[in-house]
Symmetry: C2
Subunit: 211 residues, 2 copies
Amino acid sequence: MEQEPHLTESQPATPGTLRPGGRTAKVRRAVLDAARDALAETGFHALNMDRIAASAGVGKTTVYRRWGSPVGLVTDLLHDMAEQSLPASDTGSLAGDLRANAELVRATLTDPRMGAVFRAVISAAGCDEECARALAGFYRTRLDEWTPVVAKGAARGEIPAGTDPTELLRAVSAPLYYRFTVTHEEVTAGVAERAVTAALAAAKDGVFARS
Amino acid sequence: MEQEPHLTESQPATPGTLRPGGRTAKVRRAVLDAARDALAETGFHALNMDRIAASAGVGKTTVYRRWGSPVGLVTDLLHDMAEQSLPASDTGSLAGDLRANAELVRATLTDPRMGAVFRAVISAAGCDEECARALAGFYRTRLDEWTPVVAKGAARGEIPAGTDPTELLRAVSAPLYYRFTVTHEEVTAGVAERAVTAALAAAKDGVFARS
């Protein structure tokens, strides 16, 4: 059998004392962390399963058996990122919460490491259907987490009742991602602030009314 | 010397009668058309210079000498697409012009062939700096072509004087591209219409005032 160098070393030697759940979760964590690092460093198309196994300290056969391919790794990484997604803000005003949301997106995209990871997964989704579905799922989770913020804003009378929360949240993110993925222009704090102000102006005007 | 099968056949045999400009332009057209088709069919990472040369009916050495690499091909294709970019609409109202703009973006992204080409070049730009610069240049050209539309709208009093034309135009495109590249949601006519209405509401509110 193949050796699983680092992780095995930190586990008790007696099989009976292993907690399979704990071990499985540890292996997944190590592999997904290594995959994320590799994505940031080399992008999707240079992703190498053997190197990821080596830097995760996990046996190659485990990685191949469990994730199958770079697409499988990216897909699982996106599921993991969705699970770990930060909860929505609650600043007391819709403008404040949307500002926090835009700032979170901006900080992520401009962070050298996380920006590179997002660039890689977006690029992967552009050439693979399974990655595209996983990326769409990630953003559905993210958007769903933030929809209560919009409902609370509507309840406080800050925007019309019946505003479609997801439409408003998409309007906040879109100008940031457009620059990041399409026009390759800088995603500044001003860009984030303007995205919020523009989306709020449109929402107050009833543009995002649920159809 | 390598043969350049198809194009050479349609050229006169006597060197003195060749117009180098015409021939150069024809070779470029054939190669860029083949590159665009290949991008639509296989994406950026499977781009094969030899196959492109063959389907363009141009010698391999010509293609390697002139474009060097798939990145060189995509970069030149983006320059070409910028040159061929359609002129802006003039419907008589800013809302009408922006609607025409959004509809043009929507039609392009949802066209099976052109949508695939844009997906491929956006993906290429996500992993190569030279492609990213060429893509940014393409969108600068596109945006510059449409800025007079905004100036005319401001002159007609439809939006505040001093509205930043590029910011307003970016706001129209962003929700469409965000769905296309990031969330992989459908870019419907309703999405395009809402993008225009939202951008106009924000513009009227002074959100895109030049800073």
